[in-house]
Symmetry: C2
Subunit: 202 residues, 2 copies
Amino acid sequence: MSGDERTGLRERTRRAVRAELSDLAVRLFLERGYERTTVEDIAAAAGMSKRSFFRYFPSKEDAVFGEAEDVAEQVAEAIRARPEGEPPWACLCAVLREQQEAIRSAQPGLRTLRLIEATPALRARLHAERDRMRELITAALREHSGAGLDAFTADLLTGTAAAALEAADREWMRSDGAADRAALLDRAFALLSPSAGGQGIR
Amino acid sequence: MSGDERTGLRERTRRAVRAELSDLAVRLFLERGYERTTVEDIAAAAGMSKRSFFRYFPSKEDAVFGEAEDVAEQVAEAIRARPEGEPPWACLCAVLREQQEAIRSAQPGLRTLRLIEATPALRARLHAERDRMRELITAALREHSGAGLDAFTADLLTGTAAAALEAADREWMRSDGAADRAALLDRAFALLSPSAGGQGIR
DNA sequence: CCGTGAGTGTCACTCGGTGACACACACGCT
DNA sequence: AGCGTGTGTGTCACCGAGTGACACTCACGG
């Protein structure tokens, strides 16, 4: 190897091209729509061949989702680090509250989110991503809570937590990004835990 | 028109071919996997051309999902028919309990469900379907509950209900179809409504 | 017997995605 | 200097899901 200060030259240029390509792709999708923009359009606009596009992204969708660092691993880790004997729902709430910044920074911004929302293929992809994460988190939660937590209840718990996150996200989008996401998440959890004194979900 | 007893001859034969084709497709998918089975394989096995397959189903996926009658419309109707002033969560629980037979008879059976579970493309499609239904139901719920129910809470409610249904379904699949789905759904709702006396989710 | 229309096969095409090959360029080595 | 070698690239050929267009063939009613 040669002059690889920090992260290596090749890796750096590759990342730069990827980012530029992703940016370009999203811009074109927003202008002309996802379906009406072909991979060849993007490649041509970037001055490369279709084949080269696929050397940067395994699929057209991936140009939108870009990196999507695996925040699920981090959340799972945080769950395992929780005090033993803590009730699973409290554990989930606490971790999601703690990690919400990390979760969101790993997700697309408002304008990209709108694009995804409006495009069936991208929505499907987002769902798949979230499903994968939920599975990891469910496993971590069961590991944390021992034999007292059956698979059924664990599914229900993570499913409910996902609903809270999603409702908060949707409300945030409705407000054009103006709403306080942390406060929304708190509100969602409060509604789901009527014991806390609120009027709850009922 | 000619001899159209009941539903019309053409319509009947069309339905019959569709059903046969769908059956054949699912069988092939289970044998050789969804991705490794081409539309041409299915068409050939059914003695028709690829083009004709697409005259019966708009896409390969649709051969699996078949009819999927719109049960969401029915559920929305049931929500609107509920007594005025009923709290939204109670309304949701009651309607989903009442309609669960209808909901399930409109959904694929165990073996098809497993196929879907194992195939990313089909999972995505199922999610999309469920999303569409959830939107209809959310709208109906807001209509039923008047101005007291904001969009955020409505999203949270239907999202949570969806989590209950999904958890019940997953447990049912885990039990190879042996579990009592109605009882599972009741358990899920009970866990989500700790006020009822159970230990709840916390 | 003749029209009409629905169902079909065939062909050509688009678009996402993959494999194979050849070329160019930058590096490290002797 | 010349030589490999690895990495990025373009090109070409291909597959599979869909779509559009056109021609054919039956079964039907007139």
